[in-house]
Subunit: 419 residues, 2 copies
C-alpha cells in the first residue's frame, strides 16, 4: 500500500471509521471495506451525491466513476425517477398485495428482452441469482451448477467470495471453469455429463484485483451450443452490466442467448429492485419455486424503474456511455503513454477499468488511482468503474487533466524511489 | 373454499390477475398468492393505503389488519418517516461508501437491544437469517442448525417453505424440533451432541394455516440453558414480531436471551431495511462472514428507520398495540360467543389471529374472514394479523360491528346448508 499522499484530508472518514468500529464488525463490511481500496488515500464514508458528482464525509468532491457500484446509470438524483418513487410512496409504500406497477414493469421488461416470456421482481441481486439456480434445478431435475472461477454472483453460500461460515455442502454441486478457456468448460461437461442444471455467466469477466476480459471470439457461441445439446439452462447474470451494454440485455451486446437473465443495479437508478426473466419453457418450473420478501410488493421502486427504463431508451444512454467511456479510456491510455506508462483499458467502455501492463504487485495501480482520487475523480484501484449519463464531455476532460497530473506524480514518485 | 359472497366486486383484481398471468409465473408469487387466501372473496391487487386503511384495485376500502404483512407499524404513510427518506434520497440515494446514518442506526439498535454489542444492516429478512447461520457456523466450527418445524425464516434454500428446486444438500444439516415440545428438542440435542452451531427461534410460533402458540412456561428457559451448556448459538428471528412485542427485542417479552437477533419489517415502517445484532463474543466471527448488496449503503431507509424507532418509543407503540389488539380480540371472541361460536384468539394481541375451536377443514375460518373482508376489514384467514399505531378505538369498534354481522351471516349460511 502506498503511503498517504496528503492530497486531501480524510480525517472525518477516519473518525467515523473509528466510531463505527465500536459497533460494526470490521467497521465497514462488504464491498466498501477499506481493505479493498487500501487505507490512507481513499474516502471511507460518503455524504451526498448529485449528477456525476459525489462528496465524501470530509466534504471532498469527486467526479464519480463508481456510481454507487453501478445502480446510478442516469446520474445521482435524477429528479424524474426519484419523484416517481416519492409519488408512489405517498400513495402507499408497503401494501398487502401487488399493484398494477408490478405487472406493467414485468410487461415492459418482457418486451425489452427478446427471449423472455415472463419475469419476477425482488430486491437484491443474490435474490434472483439464487432463485434462478433453483428454477434451473427444478426444470432439469439435475443438481450441478457450472460457473466461471472468480465471477461474482452475490453473497449466498453457493457463491459468496467470503470464506467464513461455509460448509462443504454449500458448494457440493458448484463447479468452476475458466473464462475464455473452452477446454476447461468442455472438461467439466465431460466429467459430469448429464448432471449440470445450469451454467451461470456474466457478459464479460470482471474479477476484482484483475483487469476485465471480454468474451473471446466463439467462447459464448460454443457454450450456447453445448448447453442446447446437453439440455443445460444458461443463466445470464446481468446485474452489473445490465442496461449499460445493450438496452435489451447484455447478451445482445456479446452475441448469444441465455434462458434466464438477472437484473438489479441500473434497473431503477438506485431504487432497490432486482428482476429475473426467462424463456417460456421455464415458466412452469419458475412458478413452483417460492419467491417473496417483506418489501417486494412495494410499488415505489417499480414506479422509479418504469421512468428509468423510459429515460434510458429515450436518451439513448447505452450509446452515450459507450461514447463517453471510450473518450475517457482512450484519453487515459494516451496520457499514460505521454508519461511513459503502458496501460490497458479493459472491459467495455461503459464499465471500464484501467490497469498497468507491468504491475504484478498492483502498487502502481494503487498509487495512480490514489493520485487521481486525491485530485477529485474517484477511480477504484481494484474494481471496474461505471459510467453514467450525467458524465459530460467536460467531466471527462477534467478527469483527463487530473489523470495527466496523476501520471506525472506517479512518475516523479517512482523516480524518487529509485534515485 | 366458500362460494363467492358477492359482498364486494373484485372484478378489477381478477382482470389484473388475468393480465399478470401472461407474464408472471402463477400470476402472483409468494405470500400474496391467491392460493393462500383462496379465490373469490379476497382482493388480489392493491392500489393505495393511508393510516389504518388500504384500498384494493376495485376501490374497495379496508381497515387493514395485515399492515403489509408487518412492516407498517406506525400506520401507512406516516409523514415524518417518509419525509426523512425523501430528504435523504434528494441528497443521494445510492453512494459508494456507507454514511453516518448507518453508524447512528446501528448505535441506536445496539443501545436498544440489551445483549447486543454490534450490528449490521441489509435489505431482506432472509439476508440476515442466512447470514446469522453462517456467523454461528464460523463461531462454533459446527455444521448443524436446529429450527422449529413449520417456522418461517425466509426463502433461502435451507428454509424456504417451497419444495421446488431444492437439493438434499441444502438441508443436509438442518434439523427440526416441535414448538413447545422439549422432548423433541432434547432428543435432537442428544442425537447430534456437539454438532449444533445454532438454534433459530421466533418469540412465538405462528405457522400459516394454524393458530399461533405462545411459548409454554419453561420452554425458552430450557432451550437457553441447554444452549449455554452445549455452546450452541441462539438466533432470535424477530423479523415478524420485532418492535411489536417489546421495544428492546421480543426476547424481553417472552423472557430469554439470544446471542443473535434479526430484525426487518417494522424497522423502518415499510422502507426496505433489515438488521442483525449480536453479542460481543460473536463479533470476530461476524466480521469474517462476507455481507453486502447493491443498495445496502443507501442511507434513505436508515434515515426512515431512525425516525421510526424514535416515534415508536415516544408514542409507546408497544403498549398501544397491546391495548388495541386486546380490545379487538376480546371483542371478536365475545361476538363469536354471542352467535354460538367458540373461537380462539391466539398469539400476542399485537400480532393476533382468530380461529374457530371446531373447524378442522378451515371452512368456517375461510367463510368468516371472507364475510369480514367483504364488509371492509381485511382479515387474512390463514396468516396472523398485525396491529399498527394508526388503528384507533373507532377502527376497532367498526371492525367489531362488521365482525358481528359476519358471525350472523356465517350462522345463517351454516343453518341454510344444514336445513
Amino acid at each position: 500500500m502506498p503511503a498517504p499522499l496528503h492530497l486531501r484530508s480524510f480525517r472525518r472518514s477516519h473518525e467515523l471509521f473509528e466510531r463505527a468500529s465500536r459497533v460494526v464488525p470490521g467497521g465497514i463490511y462488504g464491498h466498501a471495506s477499506p481493505a479493498i481500496t487500501g487505507p490512507g488515500n481513499f474516502p471511507y464514508y460518503a455524504t451526498k451525491a448529485k449528477g456525476s458528482r459525489y462528496w465524501d464525509a470530509d466534504g471532498n468532491e469527486y467526479i464519480d466513476y463508481m456510481c454507487g457500484y453501478g445502480p446510478v446509470i442516469l446520474g445521482h438524483g435524477r429528479p424524474e425517477v426519484d419523484e416517481a418513487a416519492f409519488r408512489r410512496t405517498n400513495e402507499g409504500l408497503c401494501l398487502n398485495h401487488p399493484t398494477e406497477e408490478s405487472i406493467e414493469l414485468i410487461e415492459t421488461l418482457v418486451d425489452l428482452i427478446d427471449f423472455a416470456a415472463w419475469g419476477v421482481l425482488a430486491k437484491n441481486g443474490s435474490d434472483v441469482t439464487t432463485w434462478c439456480l433453483q428454477v434451473a434445478r427444478e426444470f432439469t431435475k439435475r443438481k450441478k451448477i457450472l460457473k466461471v472461477a472468480g465471477n461474482y454472483h452475490g453473497i449466498d453460500p453457493w457463491c459468496t467470495p467470503g470464506h467464513a461460515g461455509l460448509i462443504e455442502e454449500d458448494r457440493a454441486h458448484i463447479h468452476d471453469f475458466t473464462w475464455n478457456d473452452l477446454e476447461s468448460f468442455d472438461a467439466q461437461l465431460k466429467q459430469y455429463r448429464g448432471q449440470f442444471a445450469a451454467v451461470i455467466l456474466t457478459p464479460f469477466h470482471h474479477p476484482t484485483f484483475q483487469k476485465s476480459e471480454m468474451p473471446a471470439d466463439g467462447f459464448l457461441a460454443h457454450i450456447e451450443a453445448a448447453c442446447r445439446r446437453e439440455g443445460i439452462v444458461i443463466i445470464l447474470d446481468d446485474i452489473r452490466a445490465g442496461f449499460r451494454l445493450h438496452h435489451g440485455g447484455s447478451h445482445r451486446a456479446v452475441g448469444f442467448e441465455p434462458d434466464l437473465i438477472c437484473f438489479c443495479k441500473a434497473l431503477a437508478n438506485g431504487h432497490p429492485l432486482s428482476a429475473a426473466l426467462g424463456r417460456k419453457e421455464l415458466r412452469v418450473a419458475a412458478g413452483k419455486v417460492f419467491l417473496t420478501g417483506s418489501y417486494w410488493n412495494s410499488p415505489a421502486p417499480m414506479a422509479a424503474s418504469l421512468v428509468c427504463l423510459k429515460l434510458l431508451a429515450e436518451e439513448k444512454v447505452v450509446e452515450q456511455l459507450a461514447r463517453t467511456g471510450r473518450l475517457l479510456m482512450d484519453g487515459l491510455v494516451a496520457a499514460g503513454t505521454r508519461h511513459g506508462y503502458k496501460t490497458i483499458a479493459s472491459g467495455p467502455p461503459a464499465i471500464p477499468l484501467l490497469t498497468f501492463a507491468d504491475d504484478p504487485s498492483l502498487r502502481r495501480q494503487q498509487r495512480f488511482c490514489a493520485e487521481v482520487t486525491g485530485r477529485g475523480a474517484f477511480f477504484h484501484p481494484h474494481h471496474n468503474w461505471f459510467l453514467c449519463a450525467a458524465h459530460t464531455e467536460a467531466d471527462i476532460a477534467e478527469t483527463l487533466k487530473i489523470a495527466d497530473q496523476a501520471f506525472a506524480a506517479l512518475r516523479e514518485a517512482e523516480e524518487t524511489a529509485t534515485a
